[in-house]
Amino acid sequence: MDTLFQVLLDGMLNGMLYALVAVGLCLIWGVMDVINFAHGEYVMIAMYLTYWLGFLANVDPLVSMFAGGLFIFILGALTYQLIIKYTVGKPPLSALLATFGLAMLLKNLCLNRFTPNYRILSDTWLGDKTFQMGTLIVPIPQLVTAVLALLVIGLVFFMVRSTRFGWAIQATAMDKEAAELMGINTERIYLLVFGIGGATVGIAGGVMPTYLAVHPEVGTMFSLIAFVCVAMGGFGSIPGALVAALLIGIVEALAGYYIAPVFKYVAVFGLYLALVFLRPRGIFGW
């Protein structure tokens, strides 16, 4: 019984990480119906940034995650300005294919410059710390990430629901032309949404190098899982993505422990397929 709770806890903490990565994609997909295949690569780049800052300049991840957030904000905005903007009138999967090209470019650029070696950041403030809660062992870096995720997701959700900027975003998402007619600068909205989406994963990439190895391939799985989270949660629904991410984290952990590690993703993707065939619009989709 105790192992079950441990597995569930690890799954939920992991799920919160997925949620943090997914919320940016959810925002982007919900507002402009674009799947950013390079989303996972944003995570990878943020992780590398944190790693190098930590390794070369001894900057703690908790500090450099802000740098990561800013850096990926800029990267996201650039992606929109240089690439996504031009996919608007084109066939529907253009953005997906173009960002796949971007992902390939970024991944191999890092492969070329940084080699495929796995790296982990040791010697950080959070380090390997854990604490005991009854019989449960709670890893602190993952817990911090989970709390951070909740904060960021809550902030984004609040922003979209309750601020003027957020309403402008919702208007643009629902009907771009109508929003423009109301005086909303939709170009700027798209730019900022891509930037914010990027910033959220930039922050995610901040804490992760303490417990996850950094290497050029690390982003790919994050991309896929983020897609599945957002699709399962329902197009444009942030609570949906959160629920889906938690579900996926738990299912992955259970499958990994009780069946075999290799079945983790079989279970996750199988769950996605089962759900999307039954409810094509996702859990909370509209």
């Binding site: 799947i35 690439i83 529907p92 294919l97 290799v262 079945f263 993707f269 999307v276 094509p280």
Partner: protein, 340 residues
Amino acid sequence: MNHHALKRKDLFWLALVALVALAPLLPAIAANSFLMHVLILILLYASMAQAWNIIGGYGGQTSFGHAVFFGIGAYGAGMAVVTYGLSPWPGALIGMLAAAVVAVLISYPCFKLSGHYFAIATFAIVEIFNRMFLVWYWVGGALGLDYPLVEEGLANLMWYDSKTGYFYCALVLFALIFGIVRFLEGHRFGYYLRAVREGQETAESLGVNSTAVKLAAMALSAALAALCGAFFVQYNLRVDPGMVMSLDTSMKFVLVTILGGAGTLAGPLLGAAVLIPLQEYTRALWGGLGGGVDLIIFGFLIIVIVIKQPAGITGIVRDIARRRVRRQDAAKGGATLGTS
């Protein structure tokens, strides 16, 4: 206009195939093992891309799951040789059949999904197959299948000393798949497939059973992709899940076609003719995986093509041709090409 006669472009293709068939007769080419390798890969990738083109280009259903069919074909032939000590041909045929069946079974529910949901579902399927093959003892699990030494020749589709045998096999594969697609282009099925792509409801209002058409296209596409997989394993002499049943392999099917021009006959060949030399020569220059330089360039090319010229290289060629005609017309002081 007579739509029946062998068009000029058909003669061009036949001439091209004949010319390529003559290539190994030149000792300079036949002796250059690396060049032969590049040519074989071009023919193989062009064939793979053309197989995908049936459902992805002409059919307009962007599937990212073709690695599954490619893998089924590869394992079909591979297991025939490695596990059962047979010739690869029966394995390839079974692989083609199995791929077609799997294609229909998974497409039927997937076609009910729209746009992005469909794409993600196809990713999910590749990942699932990848993991399943990793743990499946019968197909060799993570270690995959390694070829033993067998007798050379066509029966075993195996040559050790020279690449010429493989070259002609690849050429036949290429001619077969391109020939099938060319035939379908002029046949009712080809028109129905494109109509479904352009407007499913519209096509149905004209009597087209769009579900049946899409499933048939998928089955054909999968079977041909499997055939390519069978050739691949015979050439590569080994196969494992990461090599064939992976998202990267799936994306190759898609990107080569898109680079060249989806929905056209020449697109897959053009895409392969650009990508493969890029891939092989950078790897030769920089060793190993070439430091990923070929993929950096390819990634960049894909971005440019998708946003600037979604019709790919064929689109670029077509635009240049159109501009030349317009300039000629203007020089002649003649009528414009515009519509009233």
